[in-house]
């Protein structure tokens, strides 16, 4: 167990390093950042001063270590677009909004997908199962940005039930959460269903019934704890995709989170902010996967006792 976690943590660190290299390379692929930041009327001596100030005259690998050192302290420099704010400060300021929406979407989609997936397996080949399959297939086919727009069109513009965009009360979260979560519901449901089908067919489920365990307990305790392992590994992917999905969904719903920040920064070529967002997202994604793997080990004693 310990060994497994140590290896997983090392892999995560490695991935984070890779991200930092990519984020670093990003600002150098597009030419000197100095050009991007200087006002148009600045002279060459001003450029030279900035080059020196930012250490751009150093060899590339030294520049990388400077970047890495700063990044580790949460210092990605100042934003270009939002004057007077640090890049990382901006990310931190917007993060709660993204976590709020993403967390809500994850919780709601799990609450829906898990039982539906389980019941679809239990009532295999019934109309319930077919309906679930159709919803899942549709969910995996609909582009989330389009779903978001259609939802706004129907529920906000036509019916006036819910607000069109922005962050406010609970009602503001409903549409973006649906648009964000539907794909996850679909994927999660299919995974749960297929895992449950496999488990329900096993000998230990037969033995549980022989013991006299009530059917409800057989399904929700004996089978689900085994079947949950497969969807759980996928949960890390979901947590990650909620973040990347936030880029699209926050754009559609003008939700002031990190996703919207990222797209605004990209459009404004605000490299410090882009770097800060990329590294933060990657960090969250990797940590989420690490947590999932730890949980996974906890659920599956075959890994726990290695």
């Amino acid at each position: 167990m310990k060994r497994y976690l140590v290896i997983r943590s090392l892999q995560s660190l490695l991935a984070l390093l890779a991200i930092s290299v990519i984020a670093f390379a990003m600002s150098h692929l597009t030419g000197s950042p100095v050009d991007a930041m200087l006002p148009d009327d600045a002279g060459p001596e001003e450029a030279a001063r900035l080059t020196k100030l930012w250490g751009l005259d150093l060899p590339l690998y030294e520049q990388y270590f400077v970047f890495l050192g700063n990044a580790l302290q949460g210092n990605f420099g100042d934003s270009i677009k939002w004057q007077g704010q640090t890049a990382f400060g901006l990310v931190l300021e917007r993060l709660p909004a993204t976590i709020q929406l993403g967390g809500f979407a994850i919780i709601v989609s799990t609450i829906i997908a898990l039982p539906v997936g389980v019941l679809a397996a239990v009532y295999k080949d019934t109309p319930f199962d077919s309906a679930g399959k159709l919803v899942a297939l549709l969910g995996q086919a609909m582009p989330n940005f389009w779903l978001g727009i259609v939802l706004i069109w129907i529920f906000a513009v036509h019916l006036h039930w819910l607000p069109t965009s922005g962050r406010g009360g609970f009602s503001h979260m409903i549409l973006p959460a649906i648009a964000m979560g539907w794909f996850q519901v679909a994927a999660f449901m299919r995974l749960t269903r297929s895992a449950m089908l496999e488990v329900l067919d096993s000998e230990y489920i037969k033995l549980a019934r022989i013991k006299g365990v009530p059917e409800r307990r057989v399904i929700w305790v004996h089978a689900l704890k085994n079947a949950a392992i497969a969807p759980l590994t996928y949960f890390g992917v979901i947590a990650g995709s909620i973040f990347t999905g936030s880029v699209v969904i926050e754009t559609v719903f003008a939700w002031p989170g990190t996703g919207l920040l990222a797209i605004d920064a990209i459009r404004g070529r605000d490299f410090p902010v882009i770097q800060a967002v990329v590294v933060t997202f990657a960090g969250v994604f990797i940590v989420a996967n690490l947590i999932v793997d730890t949980l996974y080990a906890y659920l599956d004693p075959r890994i726990r006792y290695q």
Partner: protein
């Protein structure tokens, strides 16, 4: 009418279990009857696909839903018909009065729960007692099946145990609530030979201690000779021969039983002489009209092709009848003697 004490522990009468398959509705168990007395062991012998496992699951009403269902018959446990019970009442029978051991210990235990949890759960299902008491009983149950150091083992997970040890745990689960009938579905097939012998010994010991009735499902006549008092030989969904173990070994009546007995290599015999039955069992969706063994039978007559043989008595002795479904019994000169 017999008095309750003389009543068999479990009696199955004319049981029919159907399965709805892609190839049509089949009768996996087709009018099967047998009984087992208190403290007695009945062997059900047959090849895989003969319907013996489905028959066993039918007793517990656990045939795979929704494709399989019990169409008719009676399953009398101490005189009560289990087929008339509600699902809730049935749950109080499972594990408490009739229990079962499955074939493969590697897959019969739930990998994500500890041994203790699984044994405690089995006992707790049928006893209203505080958890501490249940754990104690679980430890005792494990000790009864000769699991060494059970206090420590309860915290283990299945993957930390050997196959033989797991099968003992399955035994502890099955016997934890002191059932009166145990169905053992090829419990030793997946085990090593030496472990097999130990396990059979263990079941015998427990039977002697508790007066348990055992229904032992196997395809191995060697195991039958060791364990059983009575035998039901199943072929293509039917019991084709039924009687005391001694009678069946000494004078088998059905050609199928004879063939099976011949395929058991006696220890002193050369394995090269292993006899196998020619041909394949009939497909369930394409049953012969007459005797189901006829296409493979050496002594088949014209009549066998068209008419299913009646249950004919070979001998009625004090220890119970010996019957077989074979027309040859009406014409004794047809029966080639085995010895």
């Amino acid at each position: 009418m017999r008095s309750p004490s003389e009543r068999p522990a479990l009696e199955v009468r004319d049981l029919e279990t159907r399965i709805d398959t892609k190839l049509g509705l089949i009768k996996a168990v087709d009018g099967v009857s047998f009984s087992v007395e208190h403290g007695e062991t009945l062997g059900i012998v047959g090849e895989s696909g003969s319907g013996k496992s489905i028959a066993a699951l039918s007793i517990l009403r656990l045939v795979p839903k929704p494709s399989a269902y019990i169409a008719r018959g009676q399953v009398l446990l101490d005189g009560e018909d289990l087929l008339e019970k509600s699902e809730n009442e049935m749950r109080k029978v499972r594990g408490k009065r009739i229990s079962m051991i499955l074939q493969d210990p590697q897959t019969s235990l739930n990998p994500v729960f500890s041994i203790g949890f699984q044994v405690v759960e089995a006992i707790g299902m049928h006893a209203d007692a505080p958890r501490k008491t249940l754990v104690q009983r679980a430890v005792e149950a494990l000790r009864r099946v000769r699991v060494a150091d059970p206090e420590r083992r309860v915290d283990d997970f299945p993957h930390q145990m050997s196959g033989g040890m797991k099968q003992r745990v399955v035994g502890a689960i099955a016997l934890g609530s002191f059932p009166s009938v145990l169905i053992a579905d090829e419990p030793t097939t997946a085990l090593d030979v030496t472990i097999q012998a130990q396990y059979l010994r263990l079941l015998k010991d427990i039977q002697q201690e508790t007066g348990l009735s055992i229904i032992f499902i196997t395809h191995d006549f060697g195991v039958v000779a060791r364990m059983c008092d009575k035998v039901a030989v199943m072929y293509a969904g039917r019991v084709v021969e039924y009687g005391p173990v001694r009678a069946i070994f000494n004078s088998p009546a059905h050609p199928y039983t004879k063939a099976l007995l011949n395929s058991v290599p006696a220890v002193e015999e050369d394995v090269d002489r292993l006899y196998s039955i020619k041909g394949q069992p009939p497909a369930f969706w394409d049953m012969p009209k007459g005797c189901r063994f006829e296409p493979r039978c050496d002594v088949a007559m014209e009549r066998c092709k068209t008419e299913y043989p009646a249950k004919l008595a070979k001998a009625a002795t004090a220890s119970g009848g010996h019957y077989a479904d074979c027309w040859a019994l009406e014409e004794p000169e047809w029966i080639p003697s085995r010895s």
